[in-house]
Symmetry: C2
Subunit: 343 residues, 2 copies
Amino acid sequence: MNLKQLSQKLGLSQTTVSRALNGYPEVNEATRLRVERAAAQYHYRPSTRAKGLATGKALAIGHVIPISSKHEMVNPVFGDFIAGAGDTYARHGYEMILCTADDAQEEQVYRGLKARRAVDGVVVHGPRLDDSRIRLLHEIGLPFVVHGRSSGATLPYAWLDVNNRHAFQRATDFLLDLGHTRIGLINGMEFMDFAHRRRDGYTIALLGRGIPIDPAIMRSSEMTEVFGYQSTRDMLTLDNPPTALLCASLISALGARRAVEEAGLVMGRDVSIITHDDDLSYLKNGDDIPIFTATRSSVRAAGARLAEILLAAVADPDLAHQNVLLEAELMVGRSTGPAPRKD
Amino acid sequence: MNLKQLSQKLGLSQTTVSRALNGYPEVNEATRLRVERAAAQYHYRPSTRAKGLATGKALAIGHVIPISSKHEMVNPVFGDFIAGAGDTYARHGYEMILCTADDAQEEQVYRGLKARRAVDGVVVHGPRLDDSRIRLLHEIGLPFVVHGRSSGATLPYAWLDVNNRHAFQRATDFLLDLGHTRIGLINGMEFMDFAHRRRDGYTIALLGRGIPIDPAIMRSSEMTEVFGYQSTRDMLTLDNPPTALLCASLISALGARRAVEEAGLVMGRDVSIITHDDDLSYLKNGDDIPIFTATRSSVRAAGARLAEILLAAVADPDLAHQNVLLEAELMVGRSTGPAPRKD
DNA sequence: TCGCAATTCCAAAGCGCTTTGGATGCAACT
DNA sequence: AGTTGCATCCAAAGCGCTTTGGAATTGCGA
């Protein structure tokens, strides 16, 4: 069923039917009702493609998923983020289109999206320090919102981010208050902006108490379980091992816990662990009492919120770039305790 | 830059330029070269929308992600599956469009996709027993491929699945060969087809050795870490606790390990664990030596393969429904060992 | 020199929608 | 009665592409 057929069935012109369905004022209320009923009855839905062609809008938002070329890794938060954003798009009549791209193709993918007029805007995932995509998207004139931020970017841009620096500063302070002075950091890759900021927070807190930064207990890589495990195992064999660890993700925290327990130590007593927790649906941090003390911020909620911002920007390109900074919540769980006394 | 502008720049008609770009034979090789060069120079890319309108194809494949309405959970394998499929689509010039839908909206989402002519085909995620979507998609005439299968479906359909029954039968046999007779099952939700089949495999293996099925050591729910933990903790307090566990996912296996260690037991000695492993990029089962003995099958490879099947089906609707059954690999790791002797 | 087929190109229609620029009818004013 | 102003509706153009049904040009044999 298309517009033409529907309008014939109703004995009206396509113009009138189109207007009735799109809420224009120049159509009689009775007529509109008749049209709407018929549309529902025949399951009429305008073709997104045709509508897009006619209006010059794509009625779609693009998500370009970076695939780390080294580890071919997909960010595990991605599913939940999409779930949040998807709801918003659907409510506004937008499609969500996905592309995957490793570092090498990235620019071509964005350019292609623009040239094919496939999307009205994109969300930039996994921003790096001084991310080149910000310049690129400005250049090709494609509206975008960054999930995260990019330190060093000179152009203005819209973003939604968690206050990673503050979260990790606070988490480090929490450990310091418990008497820990040897605090290890198991971070994500530090060319990623979020990891860079977390490291900053960690550093600031330590220096604030006059504790020197020790690279021997700072690791940075893809946030896998194995990485958390190996880093922890290594650090625990040091002469002066950490009594507390800060992990960048629940997954690497699970690895850290494995190493702690394998070493015959008890988490929360011998070694305290704090992790960031994206509140993923399939990886909850325990039930009522959190397994890990954690800085929590729902990535799903972030997805929903970011989608709203992008749609607003698409609707009105002159709108000022919106910036949203979410604070992470510090959830105290069973993985932290006072620093063990040195005997 | 659009077709009209490009053809004017070249002094050719739109017809000729279009044909040159799409590889039709009725255009001089020299002309074609000239056109291709100009297209590259001006970064011309035909509008997907317009092309779709003209050809009657959407040039897009839909993925409808079921969001469990109870737990609002997104399947964690989703990201990797998409990464695999995305490559294939991109190579064939297709877009991937995503929708999320909880159980209540599901039918409307598929119907909407069809009515809006937004996609040429869809992949069905997370099939349940006798899944109603198979009937629905047949009815509305939207090509599809199921990731998994649906026991009880009467209509024929294309699918790609892991041989879950065989994998779990083999895993159970492996444990039986090690002398285990009390083997617990920590399964996914059993209205999901994959979980149902895994349970079948488990049951068949046990009955094959004359061991009775004991519901007290069989659990089934969303495959979270917490579920793995709680199930294991509960089972270990039984009078006759299991000496081995079969987990449906690496995530719940991590929870199972936590419970085992918390009980002061050693994995691989006191309690053996085998898990299914989807070979997710962010959750590798160890490095060289697997952490867990596991039945492994890459969900990413499955995504790539399934996309090929769907595109073939879209290209030729008369094609027979393709069915692909992948065998999982049994990787022996450090989580399994001979059954502890009863003293 | 002409005719014919093959080669190479083009004008225009059509895909399903929106939107511009009227047309029509009717009540309310002069 | 003639005009005006609304309220409704419509025909047709246009979005950027593909594709049908020719048209022009060329090469070649008769």
